[in-house]
């Protein structure tokens, strides 16, 4: 284990409490190998992780999953987070939320609840989530969140099957009294990568959705804030993923695996587990967290690129998933020799329309089947 004392503090802790989830969204960013991580951390483990992360300087905390509401100790963890001085965010589908829990979590000190929606319509929502009742419940819970005094952030994951509804999505968010709305195009990791050809919007769809979003912003300058995230495949330069590997973001998976990015589980590294090491050792000294810090690990064209300090070579998970080598440039970059992998996927998305019939839905059983086929 090498020591690099220059590591900056992990300002963000993402606590993925469980991979269990009542929904089956095919764009889920959870790893497809999630069934292998079935031994969840206990309440005391999570309380220790929160304390250690706060000592290292973490201030923002996300409770995520899977569906974090599945964990019945969520209120206990929220209370510990408040005591420690975290700003805590609950990232939820809203399924499993009740009026009592909305209020109880507020009393425990939760700062913010983000509810994710599949669409602005019942039928599309049912198709994508695998649940016919989820949509009405989400609406009711969004109203409960608002009336309990939380800031209201709604998240809509966009893809080919709902991006043309963006006007109705914005209207729904406005009707619900949202303060912030994330119109986040699917990022193609985990289950979403498996379903990429079924989910990727066409360039026309994307341009239209951005135009609608910009028009709403201009007409409502003092209205809710809209954040529009494009799929990085349509960019020419990679995103500065996580602001650099091991720079400010620390995720802990349900089984205690510590990761510099919640999609990193599949990378060919030995990730440390919080059951075996304290977070300071993991953050500062583990080989996995040091693997892609700085610039020495880079190959060309990144190594000599003047833009490397801005984008850090892009996303390690995407480089590995698409090229088989995590030290390659993120193939989104047009300077990458592998950019053709991205262009081929885009060409497919722009020339054939599919009806969503061959989507692979996220489930623990599907994950077990994938693991069995790999071994």
């Amino acid at each position: 284990m090498e020591t690099r004392p220059s590591a900056s503090p992990p300002l963000w802790l993402l606590a993925e409490l469980t991979y269990r989830c009542p929904l089956q969204c095919p764009y889920c960013s959870n790893p497809v190998e999630m069934a292998a991580a079935d031994r969840e951390l206990a309440t005391e483990d999570w309380q220790r992780v929160l304390r250690e992360a706060r000592q290292l300087g973490a201030a923002q905390l996300g409770f995520s999953g899977g569906e974090p509401l599945v964990r019945q100790d969520l209120e206990l963890l929220v209370a510990e987070a408040r005591r420690l001085g975290f700003y805590s965010n609950l990232i939820t589908s809203g399924v499993g939320l009740t009026h009592e829990r909305v209020v109880g979590l507020r009393e425990a000190g939760l700062d913010h609840i983000q509810i994710s929606f599949q669409s602005a319509e019942d039928e599309v929502s049912a198709l994508l989530s695998g649940s016919s009742k989820a949509f009405a419940h989400k609406l009711a819970m969004a109203e409960a969140v608002k009336s309990a005094g939380y800031p209201m952030v709604l998240n809509f994951v966009l893809h080919r099957h709902n991006i043309d509804q963006v006007d109705r999505i914005i209207q729904l968010a406005s009707d619900l009294g949202a303060d912030y709305v994330e119109l986040a195009n699917t990022q193609y990791h985990g289950w979403a990568l498996l379903n990429r050809d079924e989910l990727m919007p066409s360039r026309e769809q994307l341009i239209h959705a951005e135009q609608v979003t910009n028009a709403w912003r201009q007409e409502n300058p003092d209205g809710m804030r809209l954040y529009f995230v494009v799929p990085d495949y349509y960019e020419e330069r990679p995103k500065p993923c996580m602001n650099g590997w091991g720079q400010m973001f620390l995720a802990v998976a349900p089984d205690g695996m510590a990761l510099p990015c919640h999609s990193a589980r599949g990378l060919p590294l030995q990730f440390p587990n919080v059951r075996d090491f304290d977070l300071e050792t993991i953050w500062r000294h583990s080989d996995a967290f040091n693997a892609y810090r700085g610039y020495d690990w880079m190959q060309e064209p990144c190594r000599s690129c003047p833009e490397k300090e801005r984008d850090f070579g892009g996303c390690r998970c995407q480089a590995f998933a698409l090229t088989g080598d995590p030290t390659q440039a993120d193939p989104v970059c047009t300077k990458s020799e592998q950019r053709g992998l991205i262009d081929t996927a885009l060409a497919a998305a722009n020339c054939h329309a599919t009806g969503g019939t061959s989507l692979m839905y996220r489930s623990l059983q599907a994950s077990r089947d994938i693991l069995a086929s790999q071994s």
Partner: protein, 89 residues
Amino acid sequence: MNRDLIPSLNKHFRMQWEEAQGCYVLLYPEGMVKLNESAGLILACVDGQQTVADIISDLAARFPDVEGIAIDIEEFMATASAQRWIELA
């Protein structure tokens, strides 16, 4: 700027001192703003009770050597309001 306005922190924001970063930060849903020293000092006076004029006279008394402090404070209030960190009412 009307100095009779009373600034208050956006109720969805929390301001706190962060030892690891050596500064005040503003925390909000999935976001964090690091405040420089003067921004931290001004925002620490924003309590939903004092007017802009009160805050100016308070800080002018504490920092008599800083020239143009009133203008700095007004400019910060305008920026913070545009960023929705504070509401002026």
